[in-house]
């Protein structure tokens, strides 16, 4: 099968409180567009070939000496390889230490709604959605690890107090994630777990072919650690 390079592999709307899981191939990039502003998209990642290898928040942060995710940051697996890279980012900070909405958070803060009473407006939590999506791939609770929250900024003060920054993502903001290995991606579109108000609106997902990271790739060259991480990633493909 050949595809014209400009033809997206996926161009879809992810509705509020909805989830999806799919394999995104090495050499493709996903653009997530916060069409209306104020979105949060919680994400988990696993190596498709062997989901025992998964996104690892601590390894990602300590390899690059960061506590935020933005353009130029590689998203590491727990096996020293790069699953994906953030290659474009218009909002400057994506969270990976805040976790995701549990059924308890949804019920206590916004009120549980069932499908029976609310139809497609029911507020299924990220935790429930993640477990259902993971189960489609034979994965479960033991595979739940720290997730990414695209479009959310959780900053700390000098004493370590955590705060969610309000109105962080403006309407039209986007982030572009390039996959360096075939990756099982799980997404849930709904509020960050530190958000006071239920706020969820559609986000647009566009997946396109882009080719693998070249030798001069800015994410690869952003630090020595990433040069070694990309080398380890490529070594796994031989």
């Amino acid at each position: 099968m050949t595809l014209a390079p400009q033809e997206p592999l996926l161009d879809a709307i992810l509705p509020p409180a909805a989830s999806l899981s799919r394999v995104c191939r090495r050499g493709t990039e996903l653009t997530i567009v916060d069409r209306d502003g104020g979105a949060n998209v919680s994400a988990l990642m696993y190596r498709a070939e062997d989901p025992l290898e998964r996104y690892c928040m601590p390894d990602t942060l300590k390899a690059q000496h960061v506590s935020r995710l933005t353009a130029g940051v590689a998203l590491y697996s727990d096996m020293g390889r790069v699953l994906a890279s953030i290659v474009e980012d218009t909002c400057g900070w994506h969270d990976t230490i805040g976790g995701h909405c549990t059924p308890e958070i949804v019920a206590e803060r916004w009120g549980a709604r069932s499908y029976q009473e609310a139809g497609n407006q029911w507020r299924r939590s990220a935790r429930e959605a993640f477990l259902v999506e993971l189960a489609k791939w034979g994965l479960g609770e033991r595979d739940l690890v720290a997730n990414v929250n695209f479009f959310s900024k959780v900053a700390v003060d000098e004493g370590g107090a955590l705060g969610l920054v309000a109105d962080h993502s403006p309407a039209g903001a986007h982030v572009k994630v390039r996959f360096e290995l075939d990756t099982l991606l799980v997404l849930w579109n709904g509020p960050h777990p530190m958000r006071a108000a239920w706020h969820a609106q559609p986000v647009r997902l566009v997946l396109e072919a882009c080719g693998a990271a070249g030798p001069e790739d800015p994410v690869r060259l952003s630090c020595e650690e990433n040069e070694r991480g990309f080398a380890a990633t490529e070594a796994a493909l031989r």
């Binding site: 942060l61 000496h65 727990d78 976790g99 995701h100 700390v156 955590l162």
Partner: protein, 215 residues
């Protein structure tokens, strides 16, 4: 009892378990509800990588991100409740003479050492190998999928408001300790960190003392 550190005099003679765990060694042990585990940093600045599991359901394990979000702070210390995926505490820090512990730095591994420090560190000893060996020895189905979020007792990993993160010299010192009260039956898996490439162990990994008192 000191309000600042939660100190209660406990006699070693009343303990049901006391052992010194050398650096590079692991430890797996189940605490009954109400039991207290003290971890003593005998020589100072020693990172103690620790996993926690609900003893009745290992899939329900310690969640660093839920713990930090619910306590509203990125550092663990006196009063921190270490939450499981179900949102309820596994253990609570009831005494702490060190003052601050990390849970975002993760555990060292051969693979992460290669990324962070280079190929020459590939065959150095690492916590995730210790965890795996201890998990397999413990049995009951524990394996790599269970190497999820850990605590690094006595380790100092400050975050900056601008979004940075560093591993720096510890805030610990010889004899500092932390005590954990089991809020329910909890499996504790420890790797006494052998890392030689950053200041987390002051470049000199040393033994820690583990003491368990009955409920």
């Amino acid at each position: 009892m000191s309000a600042a550190t939660g100190l209660i005099a406990r006699s070693e003679s009343a303990a049901r378990l006391l052992l010194d765990l050398p650096a590079g060694e692991g430890f797996a042990h189940e605490l009954a509800a109400g039991e207290v585990l003290r971890i003593v940093d005998l020589h100072g600045n020693q990172a103690v990588d620790t996993l926690f599991f609900d003893a009745a359901d290992y899939a329900n394990r310690y969640s660093a991100v839920d713990t930090l979000r619910e306590q509203g702070n990125v550092y663990l210390g006196l009063g921190s409740q270490l939450l499981a995926l179900d949102g309820e505490p596994l253990v609570t820090i009831v005494a702490d003479t060190c003052g601050r512990h990390d849970t975002l730095g993760g555990a060292c591994s051969q693979e992460s050492n290669v990324v962070r420090y280079g190929e020459h560190t590939r065959h150095m000893h690492a916590c995730r190998n210790t965890f795996l060996a201890k998990a397999l020895a413990w049995g009951r189905g524990l394996d790599k999928r269970d190497l999820s979020a850990n605590v690094n007792f006595f380790m100092n990993v400050p975050l900056s408001p601008a979004g940075g993160l560093e591993f720096v010299d510890g805030v610990s010192a010889p004899g500092k300790y932390v005590e954990l009260l089991a809020d329910r039956a909890t499996l504790v898996l420890i790797s006494n960190c052998p890392q030689l490439n950053n200041p987390c162990n002051a470049f000199d990994p040393t033994p820690v003392r583990l003491i368990v008192w009955p409920a």
